[in-house]
Symmetry: C2
Subunit: 761 residues, 2 copies
């Protein structure tokens, strides 16, 4: 252990550095002015990430009722993206283009659009028990669904609706090689959706756990290879899959084994009283490999076409066993070695550590203390327990450290995190959080190889932590340094949209997304888009009642720019972004229409509208893509039915002469000289050592090629003494030059800032 500043001799070195730069304030001045302690400065140094810096980990957070997933970097705690999942989001075109509408349509329930979700638990696909960064799964509690997000582009590609549950909570959790995505029911209801009165609650209401088969090659859940295990109406809750020694097993807890039905309006105590009356609920232990075999053997009942292993079959085949777990359990977390299962109880003061070895022995020996009313065997707590460890009030969820036997547990009522040793059953440290922590997340803290270093407390209340922004507060995710013996609070991140419940974090180097799509990709299927066209092949196809536009977008124009249709036509735009440059996204919107496309380089997307009312509808690019972005416009002209065009051609707003042409030509020649100078500088350096620069140079080369094409058109028009066309094409030539120059200047700055060397003679 060292003090914050190791020694004054080291500081002298730091001062030495400081002397070269001049500041209006010293560091001490700033600390005093901003009321920062030495500890704060240390936390700042541990989290601050300068421009261009990279985070070591990426956290994928549920977005709660926003229906989305939130991605942020650790330790900078900067939110990098909201991924649209269950809720339409126009910036991403999600729900505003036809391709993503098809994804959302997969999530319809009873034929109805559901335009939101209550996301709870994200999970990254795993290989050998480690997150592999390929896919992300997220559940919807209210409308029991699971979504699949492809992490090669951070887009939602699939939504599956649970065909038998009315609500769920304990999803998504994955098995160690992503064989299955686990989804456990929450509030009991008759499986499959039929009505039954509450007087038949014990007999007809059921819980369940669905195992969704995942095809990793295709990146899709396969419903027909998936099955559900029917369960008693115990209000199943969170789950976790076994790993290593416990691979092939999974664990799901429950919070209302009392099977209480409220009715405060009739004088009955509310659900909260009846569901917390007993001191224990049931942890469900599943042998999913055995369940899979039973499913494959066809020993299932079909409900809504979906395979259900009934309670009777589950009991008869020994697929499920129960063991008591403490009051109002929430998290159920399998240790990295797969040997222990840690369960917290929100109304308890201790965490319970179960031994998988003991559980397995009891099951193998059929050493049960009895059966529940549904015939499921119950293991006596003593025959399953490794230890119970007093932690504080309201243990909720646990995450594991890279250090052996070390686990962190959130304490909801105490608003604390406990660090403890689950092997020895010893509390090592506690830290206060703000306030009422729900889940917590450690870096790859659910995997077989946790990475340690950081822990994030996902607090349910922020109250006074941030500047006030009205009665609805942001959430507060607090970053904690766990690299030392004592936990140290580093940073408060307000979550500005949604109420996250659960986060999963992965080493950033495992996430290697695309920069651009292969030309003409439908990003929602990942396949070639049949309606993509190359520049030059754009066309407008007219059929009775139907106009289809095959368009391209490049900075800064669409082709075509003018589309004429008739009132009542169905108009479809298939637009391909023909850019190759990173981050050169275009958008597409039409005045007064409920569509917006997000066209990343290479993507093809479709906007479909009904031209209901005659009129003039400007369209434009909704992403600021170049200096001439505002001019990236067009007109959809919807003519009244039977409207007769006059032959008249519009008068040009501005007429250009040879003098105008000559002036523009001169400008272009001068501009080219500037560009040549920049090119000379760039090519004199070791620019090829910088992949970012190589990509930019490629883009600038494209622009200069386009400039050459426009120059050719200008020259051709000039040869015909068409000064109007000649001047305007010369203008377009100059626009491409400006774009090339823009990139060239960025390259120059980049090379200077990254210490490029002049290498050419």
């Amino acid at each position: 252990m060292k003090s914050l500043f190791k020694a004054s001799v080291a500081l002298t070195a730091l001062i030495g550095l400081g002397a070269t730069a001049a500041y209006a304030e010293t560091l001490q001045d700033v600390m005093k002015r901003r009321n920062l302690t030495e500890k704060d400065l240390m936390a700042a140094a541990k989290t601050y990430t300068p421009t261009g810096g990279r985070d070591e980990f990426l956290a994928f957070s549920s977005g709660g009722q926003s229906g989305q997933v939130i991605v942020y970097g650790v330790p900078s705690m900067r939110i990098l993206k909201y991924i649209a999942v269950f809720t339409p989001e126009p910036w991403q075109g999600y729900g505003f283009d036809e391709e993503s509408k098809a994804v959302l349509a997969q999530g319809r329930m009873n034929g109805k659009d559901i335009n939101w979700g209550d996301t709870h638990h994200p999970a990254i696909s795993e290989t050998n028990g480690e997150p592999d960064g390929k896919f992300l799964f997220i559940n919807d509690k209210n409308n029991p669904r699971i979504a699949v997000i492809n992490l090669h582009d951070f887009e939602t590609q699939q939504i599956v609706v649970n065909p038998v549950m009315a609500s769920e909570h304990g999803g998504a959790f994955v098995t160690p090689n992503s064989e299955y995505v686990i989804e456990a029911a929450q509030y009991a209801a008759p499986l499959g959706g039929e009505y039954a009165p509450l007087s038949e609650f014990n007999e007809k209401y059921r819980g369940g756990v669905t195992y969704w088969k995942f095809n990793k090659e295709k990146g899709r859940i396969v419903p027909e290879e998936s099955f559900t295990i029917e369960l008693p109406p115990y209000s199943q809750d969170l789950s976790d899959a076994g790993k290593l020694v416990s691979d092939g097993w999974s664990f799901t807890n429950s919070f209302c084994a009392e099977r209480y039905v409220g009715g405060i309006e009739k004088g009955r105590p509310p659900f909260e009283a009846g569901c917390s009356a007993n001191d224990v609920d049931y942890l469900h232990i599943f042998n999913w490999k055995k369940a899979e075999a039973v499913f494959k053997a066809g020993k299932v009942k079909k409900i809504n076409g979906h395979a259900v292993i009934t309670l009777e079959t589950a009991a008869a085949e020994g697929i499920v066993a129960l063991v008591a777990e403490p009051k109002s359990p929430h998290g159920v977390d399998v240790s990295p070695d797969g040997k222990f299962i840690v369960v917290g109880g929100k109304l308890d003061t201790q965490a319970s550590v179960y031994s998988f070895e003991k559980i397995k022995a009891a099951i193998d020996a059929k050493n049960f203390s009895g059966k529940d009313p549904y015939g499921l065997p119950i293991i006596a707590l003593k025959d399953a327990l490794h230890k119970q460890v007093p932690l504080g009030l309201g243990p909720l969820h646990s995450q594991f450290d890279s250090k052996n036997c070390i686990v962190y547990t959130s304490l909801y009522v105490d608003s604390q995190v406990a660090k403890w040793d689950y092997c020895e059953g010893k509390v090592l440290d506690k830290i206060s959080v703000h306030y009422n922590i729900g889940h917590l997340v450690a870096m790859e803290g659910e995997s077989v190889k946790p990475k340690g270093k950081y822990l994030i407390a996902l607090n349910k209340l922020a109250i006074d932590r941030f500047n006030p922004v009205g009665p609805l507060h942001p959430q507060n995710h607090q970053l904690i340094d766990i690299s030392g013996d004592k936990m140290e609070m580093l940073y408060d991140l307000p979550i500005p949209l949604g109420e996250p419940h659960y986060v999963t974090a992965i080493s950033a180097d495992k996430i290697q997304p695309l920069v651009r799509y292969k030309y003409g990709t439908d990003s929602r299927t990942g396949e070639a888009h049949k309606m993509a066209v190359r520049p030059g092949a754009e066309k407008i196809v007219k059929e009775p009642g139907k106009v289809t536009v095959f368009a391209t977008a490049i900075r800064s124009h669409f082709t075509p720019e003018i589309v004429e249709v008739e009132e009542g036509d169905e108009v479809t735009f298939h637009i391909t972004n023909s850019e190759r440059a990173q981050d050169e996204v275009h958008g597409f919107a039409i005045s007064g229409q409920d569509i917006n496309l997000s066209l990343e380089p290479g993507k093809t997307a479709t906007a479909k509208i009904k031209a209901e009312k005659a009129g003039v509808y400007p369209y434009y690019c909704t992403e600021f893509c170049s200096a001439l972005h505002l001019e990236m416009q067009g007109y959809l002209l919807v003519k009244p039915k039977g409207y007769k065009d006059t032959a008249a051609t519009g008068k040009e707003g501005q007429v250009y002469t040879k003098a105008d042409f000559d002036k523009q030509y001169k400008t272009n020649i001068e501009t080219q000289a500037v560009i040549d100078a920049v090119v000379k500088y760039i090519t004199s350096t070791n620019f090829k050592d910088f992949p970012t620069v190589v990509a930019l140079v490629e883009d600038a080369t494209d622009q200069l090629k386009f400039a050459g094409e426009a120059k050719q058109k200008a020259d051709d028009a000039a040869a015909k003494q068409d000064w109007q066309q000649a001047t305007l094409w010369a203008g377009q030539w100059w626009q491409y030059q400006v774009k090339a120059a823009d990139i060239g200047l960025r390259v120059k700055t980049y090379l200077e800032e990254h210490g490029a060397k002049v290498v050419a003679k």
Copy 2:
């Protein structure tokens, strides 16, 4: 100017402090490990905000195509809230409850829902030319609309549709006392929505500027007191209102005075070529006070029921004058004293500073150089110009410093910010940004009293600045320290959702939002909700085909918990959150339904569904509100048509005996002892000096009152030897105790962390 570390003697003091704490790493270790320079450390110290710290400024950012507004703190650069404006957002219940659906319905166009917006320019309501923090206005470029957000709760309360434009861009800008919200058209189209062919572009296509009258007392735009000035089809762009000497005037620029119509598909050069062909466009100068008088005198044409001052009237009455402005102008910004107007041209190298005094003199003297084709007078550039100042490539937008004559201008093509003196016309400093900056924002930098200190570059490209998250990148808002002579880069903020264009920033102390609503408020109207009920008055009202539920929510149950309806019924839940505690929000969702409520303390909101299909639909609270949050559930039972209930009562899942009751009773008595001890500690301190604590104590007192009521019910049932009810009510009594204890523990931590003193004897 001082060096980073003033002197080693000061550092010794810092080391002295350091020695008291022990860390695994020294500051130097951390800097080395994280590759931080001394400059980075300084930037970290200038931005890092420890837990509970407050930001000095709040920035309100447009959310671009997300349709929302983003709120972040400066200098911490933490995003505090996304405010749902044009796009439904379920976390806020926006578009998922009936009250907010009514706001969104105001924004329908041609009878169609528009579920997104392209937000561009937020503006805060002003008093005497300073932002007053009361209301925020934001425009929608694609679907020409303006929204009003009430900053007392950060909720959208009004949307108005422009009745004559097809698209807009130059809104929202407000006059110095928020008399009007200015909205300027963008892409020309026939006013009012009728069709005209492009061959009649010059004759029938028009631009315009709408002045929306704002009633500050009611917080609403008043359409019938609003008017539009018809303008030539020049593609009007950004605007700004005059202030002080130029109060009563406003300024709007344009980017296609060429009136070019593209058509690349027909071989015509694209819009970008034709709209940038000339070296100048027109700055429009409006005498809005005169326009207001003309409007009030009734000299208007009505289009779609909206008052339009025609071009002829505008010309005849001397309401509009034009002056040349440089190539592809964007920002038009009035200096704090109202004397100068700064205009940048994206394809220019200089900024143009106009003198309002000169402009006024020219207009007063009718000193015009000619007229445009529509009869509008043109002022010669030399008669309006103060100075033109070469800044670099692509000057785009300017914001003012607290220091006299100092302005900052974004340079799009150069990817830089220039600091310069607009009085003397001298460039003072430049800084590189990453990359392609669009707008920029200084603290209250558009007001009569800019606050200086910080500037934020709103960059259109991020490219390599952050960990990659797929082809669609976050935006990059870069915080710059402008307190010294040289600009210093401090922080890169990725914007994770939407593409912001414009930001306005205000001193945080001017924003004083509510913590809770008055009991039973409809937050979208700000008025008492007619359907609110107090606890105890909840009811279910059944009419043929219609069931209305008047409900309350408190942690952690709804009243009622069971609602029975028949297939086909329209079911409406009016729910009031009866909490008083800050941040104690509840949600409400029903399985498989497209509704979600966000119920902040005191709010009443309405969920309406059609019970289309018989079945069992759990409902629950979607905000994690207490340890028993998951148990905050209920059932909507939709019976099949004509279903006959049996008289049977359901068997209890769990039967309780006197022994159970006695056990729970004993627990409660013990728990009360713990609570008493905490209360004793709290009341022994100066807790009344802490408003946060006073509010918490009030909440805890509520919980203990509820505990007392539950105890009474338990006692009553016990007296009747009804052990079932007695045990469960005793459980509920304990639940309230736990909630009180939860708050008590938070209070205790707060008091300890904030240095409360024991004062009682």
